[in-house]
Symmetry: C2
Subunit: 172 residues, 2 copies
Amino acid sequence: MKDFFQVVHSRASVRSFLPDALRDTEIDALLRAAMAAPSAVNMQPWEFVVVVEKNTREQLAAALPYAKMAAEAPAVFIVCGVPARACEKSADFAVLDASIACENLLLAATALGLGGVWTALFPDKSRIEDVRRILGIPKDVIPLACVPIGRPAGPVKPKDKYNPEYIHKERW
Amino acid sequence: MKDFFQVVHSRASVRSFLPDALRDTEIDALLRAAMAAPSAVNMQPWEFVVVVEKNTREQLAAALPYAKMAAEAPAVFIVCGVPARACEKSADFAVLDASIACENLLLAATALGLGGVWTALFPDKSRIEDVRRILGIPKDVIPLACVPIGRPAGPVKPKDKYNPEYIHKERW
């Protein structure tokens, strides 16, 4: 049992990993948490590519300047938004809803004692195209984030990001 | 103590509320969870307007067709993205990052025994303008979501949204 607030406040980006493979039960728990996210009009306009094969992870790492750790992480999750299935068939909603699912996935990784990092594909057109090509993702699907996940190789150090200046009472 | 996975899988949209006010400690815990979210290059391009006053909540409810429950919820959180402070000053990143913070806020509400619902402002231009006008939000800030929060008036019924068809192994 992992306390919710402890998970939220201990999550931090993890960029180096032990070589251990993820268990199937862990991959399943991550994806189930992701798909439990809310979405506009409950359209669930998300899909996921789970990459374990080293050769494919290396191709991703080679193509993506901020996802070099995809080569070493035991699993890489590509979180995609699907405009054709989104509220009003909107790419905006597809991307928002996939983002929410991606956050659930990252939090779930923390809860499992794993770690990961959101490396952005969207809105960078060339990264989106590269990932579509490497993984055979259709043109009308938006790969939003490349998320390497594994067991952290070292201590995970969350930042305290609380900032009272970002809170407005009653009006801006 | 609330188990992370139990929270994720028991979260559901809550649209009717008991009249009890939120405690200051609850509002604080919700905002701290929201601000613990990751953001592109850690820019934290989010701000929050917390509306408790009934008159303002009624104005929001009157202006927003899908947020009628703002009139009855004891508190309404307006989650905003701030492009000027986002990675590459990108509105896309501001909206994504604010979405992630908003999901943390909704999950934290569930963990506290509260409930809420994400009612979309972005990408609807007229709702965004209405909320800017009512709350005095600057033109260069994007109010993303209007989130009424309170104690659920009835049982909360989560949907099982797991769909194995949305999972691709190794490639699409």
